[in-house]
Amino acid sequence: MTTVKDLPREDYFLSGHTACPGCGGAMVVREVMKVLGPNTVVYMPASCLLIFSDMYPYNAFKVPSLQILFETSAIAAAGVKRALKRLGKDDTTVVAFAGDGGTADIGMQALSGAAERNEDILYVCYDNEAYMNTGIQRSGTTPFGAWTTTTPLGSTSEGQGKNEFKKDVPRILMAHDVPYVATASLGFPADFLKKVDKAKAKKGFRYLHVLAPCPVGWRAESDSTVDLAKLAVETGIFTLLEYEDGVLTLNREPRFTPVREYLKLQGRFKHLSEGQIASIERWVKDKWERDRALAKALGPKPKVPVAIVR
């Protein structure tokens, strides 16, 4: 079930949710839920997703869902899973859908703890690269140079967009040596679905980081979501990778389309200077050198069996 054509007709994330037109996050959740199916419990932190799918009395999921707090996605999902195990429902998938702020910033402690304990959950970060729910404030995964409402434009060095580069959350998760870490982009459906399939099938902590363009926050057209997701990969800005049982694979060698092609579609980058664009180009180059070296170092190798008893 790794192609679009094989996906079930049935939706478990339903119409009538109130996401903005063209929302990448809503697409991610809809597709992941198609693959996970009915035997699933969903956790949502405070996020765009919560507001557009779980504003009382309406709810967009066909399966049970839980919401408690913002920074608790990984731990709440883990708590649910442990309880389900006690109730004899170990076969139920527990998935947490969290945004980048809830993952890379405020949720990092609980995420790291759950990963280290190898809690049996699937954690999906839909990365729209800022705190979109609260109105486009910068997060740890906001890219360098991007305008946000807390990195506004002005004449000083504090007015050039975000001054730091994107936090590499998947690499942090790799450092926890969990069974599965993968990145995915809406622009590459086959790759994306294959990874959801794998993540569903595995036991233990699984982390999926999906780039989910936000037309509103990125100041882009509402029909550009998929194009942006594709270009992010083809420019080399967003790397498709998979870290599975200790082996790192780079899934797609990009065309290295000039980053300008990607940046120009987004109002959040409209102000970038030539120097800033050059910095992004250099960052892409360095990142690929590093990731290739990592993939080489973490390539296939003879397996040492490790017993995990729970």
């Binding site: 009395p57 839980l66 919401q67 408690i68 708590g79 309880a83 006690r86 139920t92």
Partner: protein, 407 residues
Amino acid sequence: MIEMKPAVKLPTTGERRMVTGDYAAAWGAMVSRPQVVAAYPITPQTMIIEHLAEFLAAGKFDAEMMRVESEHSAMSAVIAAEATGVRAYTATSSQGLALMHEPLFVSPPMHLPIVMSVVNRTVASPLGIWVEHNDTMPQRDTGWMQIYVEDGQEALDMVLQGYKVAEQPLVELPMMIGMDAFLVSHTIESVDLISQEDADAFLPPYKPVHAYLDPQRPMVVGAAAPPEYIQEVRWETDLRMRRAAEFLEETDREFGRKFGRTYGGMIETYRLEDADVALMTLGTVTSTAREVVDRLRAQGERVGLIKLRSFRPFPAERLQDATAHLKAFGVYDRAVSYGVGGPSYIEARNALYDTTTMPILSFLAGLGGRDVTPQDVELMFKKTLAAAGRGRRASGVHWIGTRGVSP
């Protein structure tokens, strides 16, 4: 030559052993059969989770034990577990409870009856590890029931009683059980370790009524809500807190019938019937105060004692009845609401406003874990006696045993 007689035999249903309060609490948790335990270590709560881990390792106890990375996660994990439909337990103290402050608000409106032992300890600053109630008292408005115990036995018994009250379908509120740092947690004393069989007979397995996560019977648990719905949720949570009072009383009586020990429900009174003045205490100071009452009684002073066990729900009616005949009332607190006085003093004054015009005095002592001696307690009684009959103007806040400050 000092002559001694053997101690009075205490009611025992299980195995009586010399154990710490932390051990007793852990035992209470074990025989309550929680299916998920999540905790993070903090002095002086550590022994509770260490003992639970030992019980687990030895095969005496069977639960999912989550050794999480923070108290915030410990509380969030037990909330999620309860929301899924199982019984859950955690324990913490001081800074840990402060870190839990955010998730504490979550479970009461959601009908999730968690039980948590809290070893009462100073909250920084200054950093201190000794007893103070300024960790639990500020959690007053989170919707948790709050009980304060006096010794290890009560710390154990209240875990069992706690689940029984908390899981009542008409209550479904979480409960925190406060036990004084070191004075209970690390103090070795004789405790009746209730057998699993007796515990099972008292506390049936948890069956969630209103909230659970089950793909066969799907339910939304936890939602964002607009103003059209939240006020009704607040009202309903308030109603359950009010209802909890009668279940606290009834459960204590039922416990007494089975185990031969009762604690008086929300308050316990000591030599109060013919007293002119009384002191209200909570936690371990109560034990010392009983001795002081006896001593003063021997000197002809008509003094009595009220032990405040339940801070939430607050026993307003019982307090009104118990104090109706008094001429003055002193309230001891091991925490201060800066600029006002002791938290339970504030509560008591509020509760008694309609029924009395006697002076009500606030006594602050033992803050930061300073010992509260019989002399300190005697001074509280003397000040209350002196205020008797002088009307509300004789009320006031008294810092007992503070260098440079006249009490």
